[in-house]
């Protein structure tokens, strides 16, 4: 049985699917018994969604126009 400290350290790796099979099984055994670590896992998932949502940004039209203009120059030089 792993400790809460060890479980908390591995939650993101767990969500990434980057823990070995044995470690994954031990972590899931811990999560089945520990509400606090389950809550911390939910928060880690929220934080990942928060990062994904923060990536959404429109490119300003004037910036896009200048970048397209650079490509035009490269194509015609």
């Amino acid at each position: 049985m792993i400790s809460c400290h060890e479980a908390a350290r591995r939650l993101w790796e767990y969500l990434d699917g980057a823990v070995a099979e044995d470690d994954r099984r031990r972590l899931e055994e811990h999560l089945a018994r520990c509400r606090r670590c389950c809550a911390e896992l939910e928060f880690a998932e929220e934080l990942r969604g928060f990062l994904r949502r923060s990536a959404q940004e429109e490119i300003p039209s004037d910036v896009l126009a200048r970048l397209n203009s650079t490509l035009d120059e490269l194509e015609h030089r």
Partner: protein, 214 residues
């Protein structure tokens, strides 16, 4: 078999190409590069904004010029997106080296033990909230997140941005950054810890948690 057959400008016997053929080949190459890159401009700009902030447009301009110069190195059309991202990341890295502002580095021992979840629960910045942790995250707008990312060293910021914001698999990110997978995973782990710590510190610095306590 050539992956870019229309770019071949030499005769089949290897003789020097005719001048007109070379010009046509160069234009075809340039047109192909343009077609490839134009559709990726929004994505490239969004990545650059997270890596170098206000220098993003200049970084993408650098990427266009360097990508065009090195376009012949791309031998697999299916890898074009990752290849362009690699060129962009290198351009951002070059610009990051020149930035006057230095990242706020946190003591490693402090960061390794830090848990944002536990910190929020302990500090309880929203005493009347029944969704304390979500309320904390909702205080951050996209500009705030970008500022927090820019507080991290490039070494940790870039893997976080590629994997958690733009959805690259860890193997793809390792290839883009030209590091072994184990190195990428270690940087992601340390980067996550630093990011969590900097989220809290930023919230304190700009009053997100102080405001909530009033």
């Amino acid at each position: 078999m050539a992956l870019w057959p229309e770019l071949i400008v030499c005769d089949a016997d290897g003789a020097s190409p005719q001048k007109g053929t070379r010009v046509r080949g160069d234009r075809e190459r340039a047109a192909r590069f343009g077609a490839l890159v134009r559709e990726q401009l929004p994505r490239l700009y969004a990545i650059a904004r997270r890596l170098v902030g206000d220098d993003a447009e200049d970084a993408v301009q650098d990427c266009l010029v360097k990508g065009f110069e090195r376009f012949d190195q791309l031998d697999d059309p299916d890898a074009a997106s990752a290849w362009l991202t690699r060129v962009l990341v290198n351009c951002c890295h070059d610009r990051g080296r020149d930035r006057a502002r230095r990242p706020v580095e946190v003591e490693l021992t402090d960061v390794e033990e830090f848990s944002l979840y536990r910190k929020i629960a302990f500090e309880d910045p929203f005493p009347y909230s029944d969704s304390l942790h979500l309320d904390f995250l909702e205080g951050f707008g996209p500009d705030d997140v970008r500022e927090v990312l820019l507080r991290l060293p490039d070494l940790y910021r870039t893997p976080l941005v590629l994997v958690y914001m733009f959805g690259y698999a860890t193997k793809e990110a390792a290839a883009i950054l030209e590091v072994p997978l184990g190195t990428l995973l270690a940087r992601l782990h340390r980067g996550r810890k630093r990011f969590e710590r900097q989220l809290w510190d930023y919230a304190e610095d700009v009053g997100l948690v102080e405001d909530a306590r009033r």
